[in-house]
Structure formats: structure tokens, C-alpha cells
Symmetry: C2
Subunit: 183 residues, 2 copies
Amino acid sequence: MLELTILGFLDGGPLHGYELKERIQGLSGHVRPVSDGALYPAITRLVKNGLVDSRTEPGAGAAPRRVLSLTPGGRTALYDRLRSPKEVEITDGQRWFTLLAFLGRLPDPADQAAVLRRRQAFLSAPASFFYEEGAPVRAEREPDLFRRGMLRIARATGTEEKAWLTEALAELDAKATESHRVQ
Amino acid sequence: MLELTILGFLDGGPLHGYELKERIQGLSGHVRPVSDGALYPAITRLVKNGLVDSRTEPGAGAAPRRVLSLTPGGRTALYDRLRSPKEVEITDGQRWFTLLAFLGRLPDPADQAAVLRRRQAFLSAPASFFYEEGAPVRAEREPDLFRRGMLRIARATGTEEKAWLTEALAELDAKATESHRVQ
DNA sequence: GCTAGCATGTAAACGGTTACATGATTAG
DNA sequence: CTAATCATGTAACCGTTTACATGCTAGC
């Protein structure tokens, strides 16, 4: 996921490591802090695999910077990952949001819509925390105050996301139809 | 977090590994699957550290079971972890929900309320994904369809959770006052 | 003189994923 | 006979966290 985040931000233009760190912190730092010990090795990996290009430039009143940019291969890898997320990237809230943050980079609205539909399918399946005899526990029947809270919050989130997905898909389908007409 | 989950479920009574796996799957398996390669080593660690007791019993038409139960030290460790969560367990949605699922095990409502208040403080700080010039980006100003969705969903979740926290804290405070009066 | 911000990295330890491995019972 | 369910484990690999390490500039 960190690698996807790096590729996603670099698709917007070259950045050096420190800038990247600030962007990532802006995206998810208040929830889960970014550590240098994860970021710099991830960058090194991407450079080694040819997905990212690194040039050294004098730093702005500090150590020299590594200016990073996406290679063509890096862009392909980013788009491939966005088009074909693993199942856990659809279901896990944290990873799904990472995907969502960069889904706008995909050039084809039909690809974007396909990913949203996978999420929609996941959300429409009746799921919950806590099962009794195979069926999801209803919030009203849950005796524990805190678990009742979990169910209530999850329900509100699910409702809002489903509503948004419907609207977003309508928008994307209109866009896809339009570009199809032009061709 | 897996270890907390194990301790939390075992506080409800003895279970064997396979039962534990089903419980954990019920709690979060639809979002993030549980793997044997994580579960069994975690159990072994807890047994080795004296937090969990293990007895072998003949299996129900299968391999022999390891029936697991909390030791007094395990119960103390569970309560300590629930009373004093790390900051990331307050801020990270996934970990926070794990905490919330077992917060009801704490005997003292005042302790429970203190944890909820930490979450409340975190949620009341103005936070968002995407910052521009240090300030959170408003959903209306975000040009990206998908990021607008993220902001919208996050806002709905935050609103619901804040409302629930207020109600839950009122309930807990009433309970705490009551028990104080009895003494 | 000190702190904050800029800028990058390494190394050990930890925990999780994935794959492999085994083997019994029960229902179709 | 075959698949599903019950039941437990190991080993290689991978990425993250945490801690350590360095060094410059600007502002108080």
C-alpha cells in the first residue's frame, strides 16, 4: 500500500522524499503516522525495480535531495494496480481509501467504474461484526453498549458510501457514454 | 492487535484455537481474513508469556484440541491494554474498533468512559485527508470525484460516531455516579 | 545556544501473509 | 469417492515499527 501511495503521488509530478512524506502524512498521517524506516526503503525498492527514477539535487538549506519521478514502467504499474486491486484492497477500509485516493489517476472512466462496482458488490452483501448462528447480529439485539456503537457507526458509514457509489457511478457512466459517442 | 483480540475473546470463557478463529472471523474476517499462520503463533506467544493456559483435549471428530483459557495474569494484561491504549489504537479505525469490541470487558465504567473521551478528543480535532497550505480541504473544493467521496464518507462516519460517543458517555457517567452513590 | 524544520538513511525486532503439511470425521 | 468441516501447526518471505544515526540552516 505504501508503494501504491508513492506511485500515486508521483503520478502528479516529481517530488523528493521529504515532500512525499508530507503528502502521505496529509493523506493518512493523523490516523497512522508514516515512518522514515518504511518510506525510504520503499522508495529504494521502487527505484531498484525501475518504477521510479531518482536524481540527486542540492537541498534547500539542508542535505541534498533525491528528486523522484515515475518512469513509464512505474506509470503502467500504477494503473495496473488501480485497475486490478486485490480483494483485500476492496474490503479493507484503510486499503480501499488508499485506492480511492488515487483512482482518479486512471484515464478511463470505465475502469474507475469497474472498481467502484466491486466495492458496491462487497457492501451490498449482508455483513456485520458479530455473528450468531451464521446470521449478522442486529444492533438492537446486541447487549454490549460498545458493540452496539460499532454496529451503528458501521451502518451509517455503509449507508453513506452506498449512496455516494450510486451517484459516482451514474456520473462515470455518463462520462463513459459521452466519450464513446465522440469516438 | 491479534493478541488483544485473543485475550478479549478468552475473557468470555475458554475456547480452543479453531473456535477462536471463528470468532475472530466473525469480528473482522469479512474485511481482513485471519490466517492460521498468524493465529497459532500468536497463541503460542501468549501461552509462553503466561497470559493464556493451554490444555489438550480430544477433538470432536478431528485432531485433538488445545483448550485455551485466560490466566489471572492474562486478565490483568487485557484490562491494562484496554485501559491504556496506545495513541495509534485511538486514531486508527481498524485498531479502534478492535478496542471497542472488548471495552465492555472492563469492569469499571469510569475506565471505559476515559477511553471514549480520548477518541472524542481525537475526533473533535479538525482533521481530514488532503491538506492545502496546512488547512484541511473542504469537500466542495476538492476537484477529484473519488476524494470528494472519501471526504463525504469520512464526514458521515465522524458525525455518527460523535453522536454515539456523546450518548454512550452520558450512559456511562450515569452508571459511574450510581455505583459511587451505592458505596 | 537551542529548537524546529529540512533531508536522508540503516538495522534489529516484530508480526503478518502465503504456502506447505498433516489427518480425522461427516455429509452428499 | 469426494468435498467440506474440524483441527493444528511450520517456514520462508515481506513490510512495518522502533530506534539509532547524521548534518545543515534559520529563527528565537
